[in-house]
Subunit: 205 residues, 2 copies
């Protein structure tokens, strides 16, 4: 399969496929001569993954590259690989210095009784999200935090139970599951709100 066939199979312009090659998002094909390379199904699958990450999940090219590198070359520690994946995912936050750089997140996680590594980017992401809610005049109450925390721990437990045994598959599941399932969760939450609102509305009429 040459590049034009690959582009067609993936439903993308050739120029875009070349761009992804240049950016290192797509592995090069096997060069068969100075001006020809051949591609296969694995390239088509990869392009679909790239489009899913960039188009649907909304990652930047840089973020997608970071995620793909982790999937391609996961290292041996699932724990630290997940850490690096979360750092690559939005929202981008800068790591802070000083004692107690994440007071809201620390308090929240302590209230939930969760263990956490302050280096893990999600801590800074939680801090930023809690600060934004507060700044906008809608702080998260302790009660809401407990409720959210409980439900999301259940959700995480479910995910972890279904993690594949084999290390490489486990990394792919964890990293891509984080990136790909979050939009599903957000959409389902919005729909659950509508479902509940519709029921209330039905009752009120």
């Amino acid at each position: 399969m040459r590049i034009s066939a690959l582009a067609e199979a993936a439903g993308l312009p050739v120029a875009t496929v070349k761009f992804y090659l240049r950016e290192g998002l797509l592995q090069p094909g096997v060069a068969t001569s100075a001006t020809q390379a051949s591609y296969d199904e694995s390239h088509v699958r990869r392009l679909r993954l790239v489009r899913a990450l960039i188009g649907s999940v909304g990652l930047s090219v840089q973020q997608a590259r970071a995620i793909l590198e982790l999937v391609d070359d996961p290292g041996d520690d699932l724990y630290s690989t997940l850490g690096r994946a979360v750092e690559a995912l939005p929202p981008a936050v800068e790591r802070r210095e000083g004692d107690d750089p994440y007071p809201r997140a620390r308090a929240a996680l302590a209230a939930l009784g969760q263990v956490f590594d302050p280096e893990y980017a999600a801590v800074a992401q939680l801090e930023s999200a809690l600060a934004a809610a507060e700044a906008a005049g809608m702080p998260i109450s302790d009660e809401r935090l407990q409720q959210y925390g409980d439900l999301l721990r259940k959700l995480a437990a479910f995910d972890l139970e279904r993690m594949p045994e084999e290390p490489h598959a486990a990394v792919e599941y964890t990293v891509l599951g984080t990136a790909l399932y979050e939009p599903v969760i957000v959409a389902l939450r919005r729909l659950a709100h509508q479902d509940q609102a519709a029921r209330l509305r039905g009752i009120n009429r």
Copy 2:
């Protein structure tokens, strides 16, 4: 308060405050002369909200404007206001035509027994998220869908129970709650995964 004091109070450059004024994200101050206007605490609060939406939640200026317009001028129907808010929030999806434009979402919501309006943007967002997971080779199983759906309905029920009575407050709660609490939920899910992974890791050693 003049513009420079306002900018300082919000921790932003004057040029940026002017930019937000131009873009209609910040309500104009009271003009006291041809070259002077006065601002108050409400402008400071608004700027904090704008920065929360743009900086922390990651909305574009356009999306933030759409959300702020809904909060400022909510109309009388909470249901349709929430619909327009969700349309303004990422991920941006285009509405599709034809019969059964959202097959995956339709099937998923039918399996969950949820009522839904196909015009509601979250349906297209769910379709896109499910398609992305599928394209990337990690489709959402029925079992996972049930689990996610159940937990998120519980979460939505909690949110709805705490909705303020007063209509304007209810709209603000619903629209801003959707925009501001989603990042909290995503961060908490990531942290719940880490918590669970750390516990597993502890057991394995």
